[in-house]
């Protein structure tokens, strides 16, 4: 039994002579959430469009659920594009019926499942409203509903969190975890790494069309070790830059992530800090994905 939900081999795509995706390969395991991470313009959406056969790759191969892409498997995939819009003049349930029928569902099934999902997303009062009457966040939730309505085996979501408030991000996160529990494989592209790292099992990081990092989240974090310390403070922290046992740091003003060359220096750091600034918290922590990403990009070495 093939355990791969998705396998990309040496994917290349050029736009007007500019290489948007450069030899990207990775695999996603069945039943896991894979985070396709990177800043805006890194090539995430182009990669996903190639996976969805919307644009053809110049080189490389793509296998979905163990087979090359075919029209037949479209009913088995749920796709949420990055830029979103719906028919403004259509009613909520009519949109679901249309998109559901395109996935091969019967109108009755769609009505029944649609009502359940609308309730789950707190959109049930809008069932007979037109799309143009919904707020942006509501429309986005509706699109997520349309994406999972046909109970696909594989979900491909391009920036599912953008435009959502924290409450709705929680809601979407919960739905994704529920889907994962049902055995659905999920590919999730986002530049919001702090949300991604809460739910993803595996990570593929891309920057400027290149893959910079790839692996299981736990393994990646272990590789970077517990050499990170998170502090909350008040005062002038400029002196940190001069400490030779500090490998790097990221200052947020009232909080800071500090990476040490050697964790043994943590007491030295604590002493130094407490003598110069007022500390509110001092905590050993795993590196954030954001931090790892920045490190990787700065190293400039494609993995």
């Amino acid at each position: 039994m093939n355990q791969q939900a998705l396998a990309l081999q040496n994917l290349v795509k050029d736009f007007d002579g500019k290489r948007a995706v450069d030899r990207i390969s990775f695999t996603a395991r069945k039943g896991e959430i894979l985070g396709l991470l990177g800043p805006n313009g890194a090539g995430k959406t182009t990669t996903i469009r190639m996976i969805m056969n919307i644009i053809a790759p110049d080189q490389g191969t793509i296998e979905i659920l163990g087979r090359p892409f075919s029209n037949k498997m479209k009913d088995n995939i749920g796709y949420l594009p990055e830029e979103r819009g719906l028919y403004r003049k259509m009613k909520v349930m009519d949109v679901l019926i249309f998109l559901g029928e395109l996935k091969g569902l019967a109108a009755e099934t769609i009505r029944e499942r649609g009502r359940r999902l609308l309730k789950q997303f707190a959109l049930d009062p809008y069932e007979h409203k037109k799309i143009e009457e919904l707020s942006k966040g509501m429309a986005q939730k509706l699109q997520i509903i349309a994406t999972i309505l046909h109970q696909p085996e594989l979900l491909i979501l391009d920036e599912p969190f953008s435009g959502l408030d924290p409450l709705n991000i929680e809601l979407v996160t919960a739905i994704l975890l529920e889907k994962k529990k049902e055995g659905v494989s999920i590919i999730l592209s986002t530049h919001l790494m702090e949300y991604a790292e809460k739910i993803v099992d595996a990570v593929v990081m891309i920057s400027q069309g290149h893959k910079v990092l790839d692996g299981k989240l736990t393994e990646i974090k272990a590789q970077y070790g517990n050499k990170f310390i998170r502090i909350e403070y008040e005062g002038d922290s400029a002196f940190i830059a001069g400490l030779d046992y500090v490998r790097g740091y990221k200052d947020y003003g009232r909080a800071m992530e500090i990476e040490l060359n050697d964790l043994a220096d943590k007491n030295r750091l604590l002493k130094e800090l407490s003598s110069r600034i007022s500390l509110n918290a001092f905590q050993l922590t795993e590196p954030s994905l954001q931090h790892i990403f920045i490190r990787k990009v700065n190293e400039g070495a494609p993995a």
């Binding site: 919307i54 644009i55 594009p81 979103r84 719906l86 028919y87 249309f98 395109l102 996935k103």
Partner: protein, 439 residues
């Protein structure tokens, strides 16, 4: 199945539009108004008119009163006149159906002409009378009449009075010269010029004017709905492209099904609309044929109705495909308008030529251009309405159009597939042609 889902959605989207509902209802109303209004206008709104007459000739008023007595006054008089000697006026057939005229004689004795005139004008201003007719004593010699009224543009009344008095005066003169009016009547009788249209089966009386107008009117309907639906389709495609819904659609089905589903769905909506009009027209002709001009009645046959539907559908598919290609190729409304302009010209050309076709439907220019697929829906239809060409010509033009549509659909699906996913700058025509060759 997925194709049906697209067709259903496109169909419903159009049919539920307010503009669809309004135009479906409004067009037949305009159509009905166009057919009934001339007749109705003549029948309504005029009522009885009272005209005061100062008759200094002393023989005319008595004749006028005879006219007034009969209920269809004007008509009867004119019928009589038809065999009389009023050639230049006779074809004005509607006089009597307009207002009923009531003539009232003023006693002129003992009053000055100025006083009578002053008094009468005052009465007109107060709307006590509708008009004042001054018949001078010298009418036989001068042949001059004076008519005062608040409404001097009532053509029917004016010409009726003029004709009636002219008849009376002429008759009087003949009698005075001892000539039997019947001899003159016989000698100067008008020639009845009747136009008869030769149809495939039998003949039908019809007036050329109405046929010409109806033909242009149907062309105008054809033109405006082809234009309207074309724009609608273009906007729809552009919306899907700009909102990126197209990506969701493509992740569910392929572009061919989206493209064909869209055109078939909107086509069915158009057919629904035309079918409603068709049924309406048939009902109208069947039920109210009494009130209709016989020319219109002869024009609006079942055959013409069916041809209208056939040529509407042909035209619809051609222009729907062209406009959907534009929608898929461009990125903004402005670009869409730029690209749509040449297609609109394609529609306007036969509209202009249509006027020529109604006048000389069998000229070689008309015949040849009616076989050019993009013009067939309008020009061949025009030819059929004015002077039906041989059936073989009609069928071959339909066949030619169908082949052209098949080709256009194949081409359109290819351009659509690439264009709908191309964002960014406006494509050049060269680029669009390159899309056709994409595998």
């Amino acid at each position: 199945m997925k194709l049906i889902a697209v067709i259903k959605k496109e169909y419903r989207e159009i049919v539920k539009k307010k503009s669809f509902i309004i135009s479906t209802i409004l067009t037949p109303l305009i159509m009905a108004a166009f057919m009934f209004l001339p007749v109705m206008l003549m029948k309504m709104g005029k009522g009885e008119k009272t005209i005061q007459v100062a008759d200094y000739s002393n023989f005319i008023f008595a004749a006028l009163q005879q006219v007034e007595k009969s209920p269809h006054a004007g008509k009867n008089v004119l019928k009589k006149q038809k065999t009389d000697f009023n050639r230049d006026y006779l074809d004005h057939d509607s006089t009597g159906e307009g207002s009923k005229l009531k003539f009232k004689k003023i006693i002129t004795a003992g009053l000055s002409a100025e006083d009578i005139l002053k008094h009468s004008i005052a009465s007109i201003r107060k709307k006590e009378i509708d008009g004042f007719l001054m018949i001078p004593a010298t009418i036989k010699k001068d042949r001059k009449l004076y008519y005062y009224s608040g409404n001097i543009s009532d053509f029917d009344t004016n010409s009726f009075i003029k004709a009636a008095i002219r008849t009376v005066v002429s008759r009087q003169i003949l009698i005075e010269k001892q000539i039997d009016p019947e001899i003159v009547n016989e000698a100067t009788r008008d020639i009845d010029f009747e136009t008869i249209k030769v149809k495939k089966e039998g003949t039908a009386k019809s007036s050329a004017g109405i046929e010409y107008m109806m033909s242009l009117f149907m062309l105008a309907i054809l033109f405006s709905i082809l234009m309207g639906y074309g724009q609608l389709i273009m906007r729809g495609v552009l919306e899907e492209k700009n909102s990126r819904i197209i990506e969701i659609l493509i992740s569910s089905t392929n572009t061919q099904q989206i493209f064909y589903g869209k055109i078939i769905g909107i086509g069915l909506a158009g057919l629904t609309q035309v079918a409603i009009w068709f049924l309406f027209a048939m009902a109208l002709v069947g039920k109210f044929s009494i009130g209709l001009d016989s020319g219109i009645l002869n024009f609006l046959t079942l055959e013409i109705g069916l041809y209208f539907i056939v040529f509407f559908m042909l035209g619809f598919f051609m222009y729907a495909i062209l406009f959907s290609i534009v929608g898929a190729a461009v990125n903004t409304d402005q670009e869409a308008q730029q690209f749509a302009a040449p297609i609109s010209y394609l529609l306007i050309i036969p509209f202009i030529m249509g006027i020529m076709v109604t006048q000389s439907p069998n000229s070689s220019v008309a015949v040849v251009s009616s076989f050019i697929p993009l013009f067939t829906p309008t020009l061949m239809f025009m030819r059929i309405t004015v002077s039906p060409p041989p059936l073989l010509q009609i069928l071959s033009s339909i066949l030619l159009s169908l082949v052209f549509i098949a080709f256009l659909a194949w081409l359109g699906a290819k351009i659509f597939r690439v264009g709908i996913l191309m964002y960014g700058k406006k494509p050049s025509l060269k680029e669009i042609f390159r899309w056709i060759r994409y595998k």
